[in-house]
Symmetry: C2
Subunit: 357 residues, 2 copies
């Protein structure tokens, strides 16, 4: 089910009573603000409308909303952490959306509730991909056990990453068992996704050029599993050959600390073949790393990164919300743009302004 802003439609479908309304636009504008308690209660009982609104709240730039979102997240934290988090990456053309459609449907078919989030740093520039996100997984978006949330827009990669982490916490508190985090941008977001998932899956193609392989080398080192997609029709044999080749290549990498040998599988998302094998690969990994303690260890190490990121975000947020700072920036920015002051001098002047308080 695709999360969307038109909560009324969803509420109707889920049989939730709607107040009488004349003008649906007015109705939407006047939507009553929820309290932190109402957000938390709604999320914990799995109300998707409230979950969606809470996610939107975390994405708000309004400082009051931010404060509130922080309270909601903090109260959801004790209920989070129970899902299996899967990162999925691959170059454009590898069939990521189609794969997530097929893979996601398999996950819900084995009785799991699935949330699909995306890290899309390109959304900073073009908003096109956002709309794309909402419609490109047609089958999954009508699955009542799936929840698809597009990447927030207008943020830097760091901002998108923070919001995606917070969204994952809310989804976990709402009872989702599996969270897929997909890289949508190219090349920039793999490290970020790797830092927030339990299993990092690299989708590949058979017969891609050498230059392309070069691009993927750094990413291949991060992968916990490789899947060669589009193993269908004439491509079955090349896919098998590629599998053997990647298996050999992986032998050249140093052994993982967690004792896991990175497997290579083939599948066809379009024909829905061997999709179950991919799920098996991941549950094997979970079993392996849970039993030797590396599952928990990885998460705790990821928490160190969150710790520093959170400090980073908070000190910047506090700084730029200081009215003296805002005033000084407003005063100096035109001078920087006109070349009347060096950006370093101007920056120092702004920092000194805050210290004075």
């Amino acid at each position: 089910m695709v999360e969307n802003d038109f909560d009324t439609a969803l509420h109707e479908r889920e049989g939730i009573e709607q107040p009488a309304q004349v003008n649906p636009y007015l109705q939407k504008r006047k939507r009553r603000e929820l309290s932190v308690d109402e957000y938390v209660d709604g999320i914990l009982r799995g109300d998707r409308v409230i979950l969606s609104r809470a996610i939107t709240l975390t994405e708000s730039l309004n400082p009051e909303h931010q404060k509130m979102a922080q309270d909601v997240i903090e109260r959801c934290l004790p209920h989070s952490g129970k899902s299996l988090r899967i990162g999925i990456t691959g170059v454009p053309g590898v069939g990521k959306s189609t794969f997530i459609e097929a893979f996601g449907s398999h996950i819900t078919s084995v009785g799991k509730k699935l949330a699909v989030l995306a890290i899309d740093p390109s959304s900073e520039r073009s908003k096109g991909s956002i709309l794309g996100d909402k419609t490109r997984m047609e089958q999954l978006s009508t699955d009542p056990n799936a929840f698809i949330r597009p990447s927030p827009s207008g943020l830097t990669l760091g901002g998108v990453a923070r919001k995606t982490r917070e969204t994952a916490i809310l989804c976990e508190a709402a009872g989702f068992d599996v969270i897929i985090i997909e890289t949508v941008g190219v090349g920039q977001s793999e490290t970020v996704v790797k830092s927030m998932v339990d299993f990092f899956l690299l989708l590949m193609l058979a017969g891609a050029g050498d230059e392309l392989q070069g691009i993927k080398r750094g990413i291949m080192e991060m992968a916990d599993g490789l899947v060669i997609n589009k193993a269908d029709g004439d491509n079955v044999h090349p896919a098998e050959l590629a599998k053997t080749r990647y298996q050999s290549a992986l032998h050249l990498f140093p052994k993982n600390e967690n004792g896991w040998s990175v497997p290579v599988a083939t599948c066809s998302a379009i024909e829905h073949t061997s999709i179950d094998k991919v799920w098996e690969m991941i549950t094997d990994f979970e079993q392996h790393t849970r039993s030797n303690g590396f599952f928990e260890k990885n998460r705790n190490e990821q928490n160190v990164k969150i710790f520093y990121d959170w400090i980073d975000f908070t000190i910047k947020n506090n700084f730029f919300n200081n009215p003296d700072v805002a005033k000084k920036i407003e005063e100096l920015l035109p001078k920087v743009l006109e070349g009347n002051i060096t950006p370093y001098q101007a920056g120092n002047a702004v920092v000194d302004e805050e210290k004075g308080c």
Copy 2:
């Protein structure tokens, strides 16, 4: 001439007197520290040994060195800004090093002094590429009018970017006319390089696969010029075809605000053919944008980014150098790693610690 740490060798070559020494290791360790005045004077008279040491100073993590480096940079700033800054990117396999060898040699042959810097976010993980930087441009590294400086290691992309900007300032103050900033990492550093150069050159290959083109689409939009390398031997005709194809593709992009139509050229770095055409393309661009004011406008807009980045860096630096903060982090980090406190709670506790002072 490759910058290196063994200043003694360079000094000898440049006829600078060396103190008597018994143990060269001891000599290196005991190297007299220079004053800010000595750094600035040395840089302004174009002393490469002192330039190299100043760059090393900017890369130091020692707070005293950082303070000193900042003073040196600030005093060099009025003497900077006079070079032409060229960014060069392209996927692995496009022949970037060979191109920069040939292109750089052409630049010095027309009487310009050239500095080559690299942005390499991958140096965070593997140090391999650093050594590579020092040796892969053999011809240029022996050219007395060229100065090659590898990317600083052990920093995040933001850190590498800041250091590269500072290095460019020092190089400009030392009298370099052209600064090439090369992307070494893949996919992550293009935006950063674009934000610090006057002209952004995209190197391409003829006949690369469709997926590959997809990767480059976002980068193509940033380019001020496209050059198809390896237009030699059997590849001359495919390169010409690719040129036509890219020219058509570029027509689909919205026109640049600065009125510049992005040109496409072919060249062979190995055979040194049409390298002069690439230089002509860039000097044309400089003339065009200088005359319509967009050269200056672009630089001033880049300064706004530097302004914010500098504030960002300074507030973080001030924060983490606060002894109370350091102590609190030391106390909480093990708890985060053991999962005894959420990273958000721990982060908030650290931020509160600083506020208390």
